[in-house]
């Protein structure tokens, strides 16, 4: 097929000629190798094309006819305030002046610890069986902080969390603790 008959060009088999016959046949193996490599690449990129995403479910507006949501005992609530420069302010309970500072590495231990403590106080018949996390991003936080903390909920398997705007009282509290020189971990 892809080769030429060279038998006559070399002077014949019994011609006694010393010149070596060079085959015009090209070795196609590297070319096939390359072609298959590219096929593999295109096959993989075709399927890997779809972007990854996390699903976010936002609450819809409440229908006034719906039954009110169950009351949450203060002991089962952890509030996270997402501040500027990748810091988190957090406090336990509903209204607590004891506000602490942490970052996105440490928050996992805090959440897991709180989750464990809440699950220890759950009694049979309780409506709220796990920690309720209230996420309050401030205007200084960014999209990465929001996604990180929602992802953290998925990692720590915390199913009950909500995202609400931060209140002015909380902002005042954060400012107070910031100015008081609360233990601020090194910003990263």
């Amino acid at each position: 097929m892809a080769q030429l008959d060279t038998s006559s060009s070399g002077g014949g088999k019994k011609g006694g000629s010393k010149t070596k016959k060079l085959s015009t046949r090209v070795d196609l193996t590297p070319m096939v190798d390359l072609a298959f490599l590219l096929i593999t690449f295109f096959m993989l990129t075709t399927t890997m094309n779809k972007p990854q995403a996390m699903q976010i479910n936002m609450p819809v507006e409440r229908d006034p006819k719906d039954p009110p949501p169950p009351e949450v005992p203060a002991a089962k609530v952890l509030t996270l305030i997402l501040g500027a420069n990748n810091t988190i302010w957090y406090y336990e309970g509903l209204e607590s002046p004891e506000i602490k500072n942490t970052d996105y590495q440490e928050i996992r231990n805090i959440l897991l610890d709180k989750k464990k403590r809440v699950e220890a106080i759950v009694r049979p018949g309780d409506k709220i069986t796990s920690v309720v996390v209230i996420i309050k991003p401030t205007d200084d936080s960014n999209y990465k902080n929001v996604i990180d903390i929602l992802d953290e909920m998925a990692i720590d398997k915390i199913g009950t969390y909500t995202m609400v705007p931060v209140t002015p009282q909380e902002m005042a509290l954060v400012d107070k603790f910031k100015n008081a020189g609360a233990t601020t971990p090194a910003a990263n």
Partner: protein, 210 residues
């Protein structure tokens, strides 16, 4: 004499046929591959452990860049043609056919309605150089919230479309809140949406990080 008759067979296999087949397949995959559509702006998405894949069919994509500018895009040239027709009719923009085609082929727009015409005068390849201020968005559902209008038009054009938000990690929270609040609305049925993220290792999985 008999020795002379036996033809010596070469061990080299003819690669030509294999080469033909492999290049045929290569050509097929090259043509069949649809590369990631270009973003209207460069966006660095945050990472999450979620590995849910988003199908690129029936999609409304809202892009937030690091300066908080909001862009809107839908998939499919035909869908986008219907979308711009609806907007043009509803808002009396008076777009020409060429401007509509420029929209259908674009990779998303990020301008208020009153600047849409000057953006669409440019062919899709030059729209990136247009100084897009972003689609106005706030937490209300009034006329000022033009993203809500876009999503509502998109809903009408393709009722099956899923919403997906692709935000830059550095985008400030106020604009994120406005976008989320716009979507979480019964009128646009967007309270379930996807946030496009890159993948990171799940520390709960056996192949533990650190």
């Amino acid at each position: 004499m008999p020795k002379h008759k036996i033809a010596r067979k070469s061990t080299a296999v003819d690669m030509t046929a294999m080469c033909d087949v492999s290049f045929l397949l290569l050509t097929f995959f090259m043509l069949a591959t649809k590369f990631k559509p270009p973003d209207p702006v460069e966006v660095v998405t945050p990472a999450s452990i979620s590995d849910t894949k988003v199908d690129e069919k029936d999609l409304m994509l809202i892009t937030i860049d690091k300066n908080g500018r909001v862009f809107f895009d839908m998939d499919g040239v035909q869908t986008k043609k219907e979308l711009i027709d609806a907007i043009d009719k509803d808002r009396n923009l008076g777009l020409t056919d060429q401007e509509k085609v420029n929209f259908a082929l674009s990779s998303g727009v990020g301008v208020p309605f009153n600047q849409l015409r000057s953006l669409l005068k440019l062919p899709p390849s030059e729209q990136k150089s247009f100084n897009s201020p972003g689609i106005p968005v706030d937490t209300s559902l009034t006329e000022q919230n033009e993203l809500f209008k876009w999503v509502a038009y998109g809903r009408v054009t393709n009722p099956q479309a899923r919403l997906s938000v692709k935000g830059d990690g550095a985008a400030k929270y106020p604009v994120v809140r406005a976008v989320f609040a716009t979507l979480a609305n019964k009128k646009v049925q967007g309270h379930k949406f996807y946030a496009v993220t890159s993948l990171k290792a799940d520390p709960n999985k056996p192949e533990e990080e650190k």
